[in-house]
Symmetry: C2
Subunit: 343 residues, 2 copies
């Protein structure tokens, strides 16, 4: 996708409607900003990708002295300007219709105390908008400035995917397994964005990647790899890997926005890497799943990532210590550790 | 949309996924067919627009002797053939990859006893697929044959549309009314498909149009007009007209598939003709709303309709008799009728 197409998509107000109606998203930013007024009082804030301007308005209401609401799409002039005016915030919020990479601070102006942004995409990094936030951080944020959000974590867990597998074995008495297999084939070119029910997770999830946004670099976003062996926590058909993320905001009133299957549903839902039928397997609790997962920025389009998962052989991969899996070496290690613990 | 594009869209299996996961839709066809086995036993059936073939499979399971599963898109060969085979129904169901208008019955073959089809689109007629069902009826159905479904009704009711109006007056303390107005403008070019909550209906609904599919003609589908005066049944902001439909199936076990706001939600949801802000009005129960509504096939694309609603003046329009509205003439008429009733 060209950069221009990317911003044009955000001219479609229905995308903003979707985001604004995402209650967990809205509530998290509302709480993080208006629940930490002491951090915002008299501060200078930059809102990167301000969209309709609602987060900038939150910052103004939290007491900010000046907010730069930077928005590259025409939503800046079509919507945000009016929103700021209608809410009597023109003295505080300056709407700027520009890419943040093309923005220049007035020569006499100080750098900003806080950068606020809602940049997250599917599987966290889709859309590649974090690059722009890091650019803003490197160019406009004071030495000891804050980022809202400040940390993010991506999780992964083996899961069942009944909506693409088992649900189709009996549709009102009709076997539609072949349809399901073709449906999966059609969907296999991209990661599936879907709602995973907690009951379909075979493991609570492990941390695939963690980032402190204050020090991560754009280069580090190009390729994220992770390898692990997890022992399943329940019986089930291992049909995919479920990916979700959470972001954490600064402040004493520390807010976390989670897109976990256990959390209230957001418009990000979850992303599932669905396994091909040949390697799906009915597994039992404590069986080990060894895998390598990789999120790599697409060569064609820096806003997209290729997500790949490889199943590895749990016999030859190194397990964590201790490992609750049922393999003899892990049972022995655990017994040994317990013995040392009690001795 | 060209006819070819129309069928190509149905090659996307995710559309079939959406329809198959629509439980009220599935349950209605299941009940209508398998709950009326005596109608299907040893009969010849034609399934117009068979898609994945699931309704044809229902008919076979209900005892049909022969089912022509006619499907113009490549889903016929890609999915339906396998489905019929996987369910051991190849002796009964013949999958035919053809437009029904190009299909020719074998010269020795009898006409069909029953035509089954799921042809309904948004506001019932979107997609214009009923034309093909009527072609099949006129060319392939026996004199006393049955149609599944056999009747359909379109309803209309004045309603509030908070998701496009009031909800935006206060979004976490921010007034987004201007955004909402631009969002409505963006959406105004086409009818809004959305879920209307029963509480937002200002009236239970009146019959906008009723059709017996055994005798309706394609010409009658080109333009449907309706004029009425309804007395609101509750107070509220009149911001739109909500349209929904229901279809009725033959048989002693008579099944109705309803897309009313009161019924469990289907993928058709409801369609709302949203009024421009200037004519929205806070109204009280028993206030009359006079309107003319018109569904007219688009000149550019026979599969689409233009939906238009005009508000009329309840002072000059003729009211039904009796009319529960609060206007003096209707109150007097009602009193008069009551008096005659008791005299």
């Amino acid at each position: 996708m060209s950069t221009n197409t990317y911003f044009t998509e955000y001219e479609n107000l229905e995308i903003h409607e979707l985001m604004l109606k995402d209650r967990p998203r809205q509530a998290a930013y509302f709480e993080a900003i208006l629940g930490n007024k002491e951090l915002f009082k008299d501060k200078v804030v930059m809102d990167v990708g301000a969209g309709t301007g609602i987060l900038s308005a939150f910052c103004a209401k939290a007491g900010a002295r000046l907010v730069y609401a930077i928005e590259a799409s025409n939503v800046a002039t079509k919507v945000a300007l009016d929103l700021i005016q209608d809410n009597g915030l023109t003295n505080v919020v300056k709407v700027i219709n520009s890419r943040v990479e093309e923005f220049v601070l007035p020569t006499t102006a100080e750098k900003v105390d806080i950068i606020v942004s809602e940049w997250m995409g599917f599987y966290l990094l889709h859309e590649g908008m974090l690059d722009s936030v890091l650019y803003a951080r490197d160019n406009f944020l004071k030495e000891d400035g804050l980022l809202f959000p400040s940390e993010c974590t991506i999780f992964v867990a083996p899961c069942s995917v009944p909506s693409l597998y088992d649900d189709w074995n009996n549709v009102d008495g009709i076997n539609m397994a072949t349809f399901a297999s073709k449906l999966r084939a059609q969907k296999s070119s991209k990661p599936s964005v879907l709602s995973v029910e907690p009951k379909d997770l075979l493991h609570e999830g492990v941390v695939f990647h963690w980032m402190n946004l204050l020090d991560v670099t754009v280069d580090e976003l190009n390729c994220i790899e992770f390898k692990d062996v997890v022992a399943l926590q329940k019986n089930g058909n291992h049909q995919g890997f479920c990916i979700w993320f959470e972001v954490r905001f600064p402040g004493d009133n520390s807010v976390v926005l989670s897109t976990s299957p256990e959390a209230p549903q957001t418009h990000w839902k979850q992303v599932v890497l669905v396994l091909p039928e040949e390697i799906c397997e009915n597994m039992e609790a404590r069986e080990p799943v060894a895998f390598k997962i990789c999120m790599k920025r697409s060569g064609d389009d820096a806003r997209k990532y290729n997500l790949e998962v490889d199943q590895l052989d749990p016999e030859t991969e190194e397990h964590p210590v201790p490992c609750p899996c049922h393999m003899t070496k892990c049972i022995l290690t655990e017994a040994h550790l317990k013995m040392m613990d009690t001795s």
